[in-house]
Amino acid sequence: MNTMIVRCMAAAAAIAALGSWPLPAAAHIISGAQGGFGSGFAHPLTGPDHFLAMFAVGLWGAQMGGRAVWTLPVTFPLIMVGGGIMGMLGLPLPGIEIGIALSILALGLAISLAWRPVEWIALILISYFALCHGYAHGAELPLSADPADYAIGFVLATGMIHLFGIGVGLALNKPVGGKLARGLGALIGLGGIYFLVPAVTAA
């Protein structure tokens, strides 16, 4: 069990380090025509803000336990589509970058405090965050060279990050009274501040 936890932590740290590579604060919303499946699949993995938020959703669900293990990661992509369609239609939704940064900060705080709210409160929070992330990607989806393959790659990679978060969360829940998961949550929260400051400054 300990070996598995160490491996999970090492993998999480490696991916978090890779994902936290300094990038412009507005890297999430990208411009210009995108490619197909590969581009869609790579985008959530190479965008540190999206990666951290998706990872935190899985981690928080695993930390809450029970139905939340699947209700959170199931709700996220479905609501994200709503945001995506709003973005595709060009409907106004101000403060997207701030919302994305806040999602990372709030999820990090929830994990670090081991907050276990009533399920519907968690789902409402997740839904708002999903709307922000979906809007950002929906705005760029029609620009994609192959929107179908881009959407497939993007949703698959997002879902895999959720699963990775669930796996790490389940592995870190019990040892040391769940302090490892809470520590990881604190790091995610710091990541949220890193994205929030330039987003607020730019607004």
Partner: protein, 237 residues
């Protein structure tokens, strides 16, 4: 979930992975062996029939078949047979029906998004929901798979271009269903819901992106108009 006899269970436990391995070896051979790789049919199968947009609903369908009772599987298989046979034998009627959707004719009649939505809806619900929804989803997924075979056929009715992708479709569904059925785990039910939400999200985004008007910044630049004013002297060759 109803239990099969131990002998049949043991046979099924090996049958799924063997089928998956055989198919994967065939794909590898088609991709790597020079003789096969040069064949237009092999190249078309690799690029079109095995494209992510085509195989993901089939994987979802296979997963759904692995998660429902044997009785429900027996109910779903005739629906799937009717769906694919109907699409292959009477494509015009199906196309006329799908043509009611705006922009259908320019987006492969939305066969892909409809497949994703049908099987995603079946997977995302509870076990009971999945049991009831998989047979109608089987009809839709199989019909859309058959339709995509007809619509993407580059050969104008060469039989090999119909039956090879149909066999590949059946192989994907059977290999996934039999392999997963033989190795049931308690977390499969959770993963089925998560997979269902992915498929629904892909279907909605895929269909939504196709229905959206093109953005103005993607419009091609204006064609340069040659200056043919009569006051400019034309250089004679």
């Amino acid at each position: 979930m109803s239990r099969l006899s131990p002998r049949r269970e043991a046979w099924l436990a090996w049958c799924g992975p063997a089928l998956a391995a055989l198919g994967l070896l065939t794909i590898a051979a088609a991709a790597l062996l020079p003789g096969l790789n040069d064949s237009p049919l092999a190249r078309w199968i690799l690029a079109d029939t095995l494209a992510p947009a085509r195989i993901l609903p089939l994987i979802g369908f296979g997963f759904a078949l692995a998660m429902i009772s044997a009785t429900a599987v027996m109910a779903a298989l005739p629906f799937a047979t009717v769906g694919i046979a109907g699409a292959l034998l009477l494509p015009d009627r199906l196309l006329a029906l799908l043509d009611l959707i705006p922009k259908a004719a320019t987006h492969l009649f939305f066969a892909g998004p409809i497949s994703f939505l049908a099987i995603g809806a079946a997977l995302v619900g509870s076990d009971r929901w999945r049991t009831w929804l998989t047979p109608p989803a089987a009809l839709i997924v199989a019909a859309m798979a058959g339709l995509m075979v007809k619509l993407s056929d580059p050969s104008l009715h060469e039989p090999a271009y119909t039956w090879t992708p149909v066999l590949a479709t059946i192989w994907i569904v059977a290999a996934v269903a039999m392999t997963l059925r033989a190795s049931q785990r308690p977390w499969f039910s959770i993963f089925a819901r998560i997979l269902g939400s992915w498929l629904l999200a892909i279907g909605l985004l895929y269909g939504g992106a196709s229905l959206m008007p093109p953005k103005p910044d993607l419009a091609p630049p204006p064609m340069p108009v040659p200056d043919v004013r009569p006051d400019i002297p034309q250089q004679q060759p």
